[in-house]
Symmetry: C2
Subunit: 147 residues, 2 copies
Amino acid sequence: MLGLICELAEYEKLGHEVVATESDLHAALFCEKPVAECIIAELDNAVIGFALFFHNFSTFVGKPGLYLEDLYVKPEFRGKGYGKKMLAHLANLAVQRGCGRFEWAVLDWNAPAIRFYQSLGAQMMETWKINRLTGEALLRLAAEAGD
Amino acid sequence: MLGLICELAEYEKLGHEVVATESDLHAALFCEKPVAECIIAELDNAVIGFALFFHNFSTFVGKPGLYLEDLYVKPEFRGKGYGKKMLAHLANLAVQRGCGRFEWAVLDWNAPAIRFYQSLGAQMMETWKINRLTGEALLRLAAEAGD
């Protein structure tokens, strides 16, 4: 899995951001209360991709959603519908689990992916931007917490 | 809580999107495996705001993150540092729980909020856009799932 994550990061030009270790993944996914779940796509017993997801929650809808963090198909197996098969599997899981939404993020320069998602009927949430606090800034704010 | 969610939705000009019921919130937050958690801010025994959050997961970091879905302070109590107190409490929770990131979304027209988040050292993830599949489109994709 870590190998696939690194391949994905390279494609996203974010290879330098991968600091995860095998033991991190083991701790998060194979514990009593996993924070995320993963599906592995296989073809003729060979791994060709993966998808990692977790549940989020919408206060307006009042229901959990399914959030797809990463979807990856190895380059040599792209354009054959395997990515869509994985998305359909997850959409079905979302419906089975009573989720009101199925969401994921896309890099705004990834035009082929955006076209594909729109063909599925996905809406781009243009007005929302993600803020991220990490490292020193996170510790600084945490230190201001009262009781 | 539902009252506060409706007030927040009105402020975000999204009042029409609230379909959550009290029993939805009860089912999601007060069950054996809650999908989300909530803090309520009180002043002199009166409720003045709330924050709802859950854990997400970064494959690159290999660690869970804390994702703040909603933060709301009633209008008459704004500008007094209560929102920041809640954010600091959550940042501290994130650090205590070993999270690598603390994230939340902001509407791109909400300039005062954006300025405030930047003063905390938050990074705006400009290149990422959220895709959302819901309603009929979600059911349509789900129906394509194989075994």
